[in-house]
């Protein structure tokens, strides 16, 4: 969708018919696909293709002398995977990873599963031992197609070299079409060294996949479907749009905003969809769910019609599906993936298709029939909820509050910076206290919840968006997971800003242990750990590396940090007891939401504890 064969439009590929090695074919197809960055780590079984990248770049320099397809080398292949994911999330283009066989490939399993769970398009090219050695327990051999088959959108093991070219091209098509996802290509070393004819065009038949994709793409909204939806909307006094990650992945933000604005329908987004609506808009309810805004969750409690767009009623949103949005009379669901329709909660109306097109069609129908909607009462209620139940925290505390740190960064970033995070409390504080005025500014591991995601994702995003400020908000636990990538940021001179909110432990785990395990901090306390993050950053070449531990310095130090032109590292010693509120307990309904000491609740806090297996 985003890239085309450059030569394909005018006719035959200029290199069609040329004799090439498999490795050269791989690199040529990458170039044809418009790949401008490869994230990867070399090794024995991928050497031929690394050599081909080197030769390609040597022969095809940009006018300024820089390579056309730079190879970005992380500290660990997991870093490469998350860099490609960050690149893809920030740009909407397919991220590319190139690693060797065995450990190189298995180190990318986590990012591949992460991309699958969050529908992020990447292509992972793995070297494999030569065909004759497969299955012999050879050096650096791993059953990549079996391992990845369970976690990726698709995996190819290229056993027939003449299918290599079409396979690489098809991998990109699979990654970016339909519901996007990760595709793995496992290429034996002898296939990389094979020599054959480059066709310059052609893809695998993918008969079933293409037929199903075609069915979805051809599935336009009918007038009758539109009429039914508008009839429900006409009968609704409190409609609410529940937007999910599909809106971002499907580039449907504009269409969604146009539809919502046309009728004044408030929008609550999931964690994955932050930026789908401009969070500073009066009818934006920011995020709903387990740690969503209290006002968003109350609006879900109050609404009588839910329009789910690219959202999947995940357990972090609908912990108790039966009691989720208890007053709704109608649920309408737009998605690109039919398996999400009715998976968790039955819906009244659904349409599987291309989100941006379908929302445009829906609005066009509404305009054609002159549909009008008066929602002043609902708007007044929404404004009241936003005022009464706004976010807040302990502003009088002598300790630095994490939310204050994010508020201050947000004041400077103005909802226009790219924010990456690890996983845990800091992730939720960032989701809550940052504004997001546009899509693709928020990079977080939503479904898999992979600690260590933030730093490599920020690095990848900075490669995709040189024009943007990129900030990694991390926790001390998440930072430790991929600490090695600090050096990657300085090696490539990337002006990423890294914030570690240090509460000396795994804060979210501690929060749950305090709530559900009588405060037994099993394995989550790190107050005796000796890590000096600032010195670690300095050792990795950060010229700006500071520790903020006095509340009175907050504004000044954050100002300096944000103004610094190069890679910058800031450790903030935060109140170790700060919790994430609001919180809807796992498996619970929104009426049991705990709002903490600083956010006004409209219900009494709950006193029931879920059973230990319901909590995950």
């Amino acid at each position: 969708m985003t890239t085309q064969l450059t030569a394909g439009r005018t006719g035959e590929h200029p290199l069609a018919g040329a004799r090439m090695t498999g490795a050269d074919i791989v690199v040529q197809v990458l170039a044809d696909e418009g790949v401008d960055t490869i994230f990867g780590y070399s090794g024995g079984a991928i050497l031929p293709t690394y050599d081909a990248v080197f030769r390609y770049n040597d022969a095809n320099r940009r006018p300024d002398g820089t390579p056309r397809i730079p190879l970005i080398v992380p500290a660990n292949e997991q870093g490469a995977g998350f860099m490609a994911a960050g690149y893809a999330r920030a740009s909407g283009k397919v991220g590319v990873v190139m690693v060797t066989s065995g450990p190189g490939a298995t180190n990318t399993v986590t990012p591949v599963r992460d991309c699958m769970a969050d529908s992020v398009p990447i292509v992972v090219i793995c070297g494999q031992v030569p065909r004759h050695a497969i299955g012999t327990d050879a050096f650096q051999e791993a059953p990549v197609s079996a391992i990845m088959g369970a976690v990726a959108k698709h995996v190819f093991l290229v056993t027939n070299p003449s299918a290599l070219e079409a396979t690489v091209r098809s991998a990109f098509e699979l990654a970016r079409t339909g519901r996007p996802g990760p595709v793995v290509i496992d290429i034996p070393k002898d296939v990389q060294n094979w020599e054959g004819r480059f066709a310059g065009a052609g893809a695998l038949p993918l008969t079933g996949y293409r037929a199903r994709l075609r069915a979805v793409m051809d599935n336009r909204l009918t007038d009758e479907s539109c009429r039914r939806l508008y009839e429900m909307l006409a009968g609704s006094e409190r409609p609410l749009i529940y937007a999910g990650g599909g809106v971002i992945n499907g580039n449907a933000t504009t269409a969604l905003r146009n539809f919502a604005d046309a009728y004044g329908i408030p929008v609550a987004t999931t964690l994955m969809a932050l930026g789908a609506s401009d969070t500073t808009h009066p009818l934006s309810l920011h995020m709903l769910g387990m740690h969503g805004m209290a006002f968003a969750n109350y609006a879900v409690e109050d609404c009588d019609m839910l329009i789910a767009v690219g959202a999947r009623f995940d357990d972090r949103v609908a912990g108790d599906p039966a009691r989720f949005a208890p007053k709704v009379r109608y649920i309408a669901h737009f998605d690109v993936d039919v398996s999400e329709v009715g998976k968790v909660k039955a819906v009244t109306w659904h349409h599987v298709g291309i989100l941006s097109r379908d929302l445009d069609d829906l609005l066009a129908y509404g305009r054609r029939v002159g549909f009008r909607k008066q929602l002043e009462t609902w708007h007044r209620e929404i404004a009241g909820l936003k005022e009464r139940h706004r976010l807040n925290y302990d502003r009088e505390s002598r300790l630095i509050q994490p939310c204050a740190v994010i508020e201050e960064i947000n004041r400077i970033a103005k909802g226009e910076a790219i924010i990456a995070t690890g996983v845990g409390q800091h992730q939720m504080w960032a989701a809550q206290y940052f504004d997001f005025r546009e899509p693709r500014l928020w990079l977080t591991s939503g479904s898999m919840g992979t600690m260590g995601f933030g730093l490599p994702a920020a690095i990848g995003a900075q490669f995709a968006r040189r024009d943007r400020v990129v900030i990694d908000i991390d926790g001390d636990g998440s930072m430790r997971m991929n600490l090695g990538e600090l050096e990657t940021a300085t090696t490539y001179g990337l002006p990423v800003k890294v914030v570690v909110l240090n509460n000396f432990g795994d804060g979210m785990v501690r929060q749950w242990q305090k709530l559900y395990y009588k405060g037994r901090l099993s394995g989550s306390d790190k107050s005796l750990h000796r890590k000096d993050f600032v010195r670690a950053a300095e050792a990795d070449g950060f010229e700006f590396a500071k520790r903020l531990d006095r509340k009175e310095d907050l504004e000044r130090v954050i100002g300096e940090f944000m103004r610094f032109p190069g890679p910058a590292f800031l450790e903030v010693i935060i109140d170790p007891d700060a919790g994430v509120y609001p919180m809807v307990g796992p498996g619970q309904s929104y009426d049991k939401m705990i709002t903490g000491d600083f956010i006004r609740s409209r219900e009494r806090p709950p006193d029931e504890t879920p059973g230990p297996s319901q909590m995950f």
């Binding site: 093991l157 056993t159 079933g208 199903r212 659904h350 349409h351 599987v352």
Partner: protein
């Protein structure tokens, strides 16, 4: 309830693993599984038998339809269909047992493939209940030395062969 699902699967490396893996990933056991070539050398036909509620199996089928290797899927149980299984049973016989084998074979319409002195091999084709009954009765007249069953294969009755994706997985509603 019991579902018989026919899947046309592309003959790609690992395709069968990816397909069967999906069942364990989603918490289901496969009761029987049959895989064989079709007239198209690029495509195999897989027949699965699986227990689950209609809603759960419908969800599983939409997940199956997301696998790139899957060409088409049809849940035979949604309509009328023919379901057959082949069984080959080897029996160790006590002296005089052969007479009983002849009767058993006649009763079930089974074919005796091999009759040695004190063992014999019998082949039967039929529906699931018939094959179950045959194996049970065979065990009464001798010792079962081998029970080889193909697992169910099925085709739908009437003209429809495999389903249209858009129709079965309702894309709008």
């Amino acid at each position: 309830m019991r579902h018989v699902i026919a899947v046309l699967l592309q003959n790609e490396v690992g395709a069968l693993t990816r397909m069967t893996g999906l069942f364990s990933t989603r918490g289901y056991n496969i009761d029987s599984l049959n895989v064989a070539p079709t007239d198209d050398p690029a495509v195999s036909r897989v027949t699965l038998v699986i227990e689950g509620s209609d809603a759960a199996i419908a969800q599983l089928n939409t997940q199956l339809a997301k696998l790139v290797d899957v060409v088409n899927i049809h849940d035979m149980t949604l309509g009328e269909h023919f379901e057959r299984e082949l069984a080959i049973v080897k029996l160790k016989l006590a002296p005089g047992g052969y007479e009983q084998v002849l009767r058993l074979a006649a009763d079930f319409g089974a074919e005796i493939l091999d009759d040695a002195e004190n063992s014999c091999t019998i082949q039967l084709t039929g529906g699931l209940a018939k094959v179950d009954a045959f194996v049970r009765d065979a065990a009464r007249i001798g010792t079962l030395a081998a029970v080889a069953r193909s697992g169910s294969v099925a085709v739908s009755k009437g003209e429809v062969t495999l389903s249209s994706y858009a129709r079965v997985h309702r894309l709008s509603g």
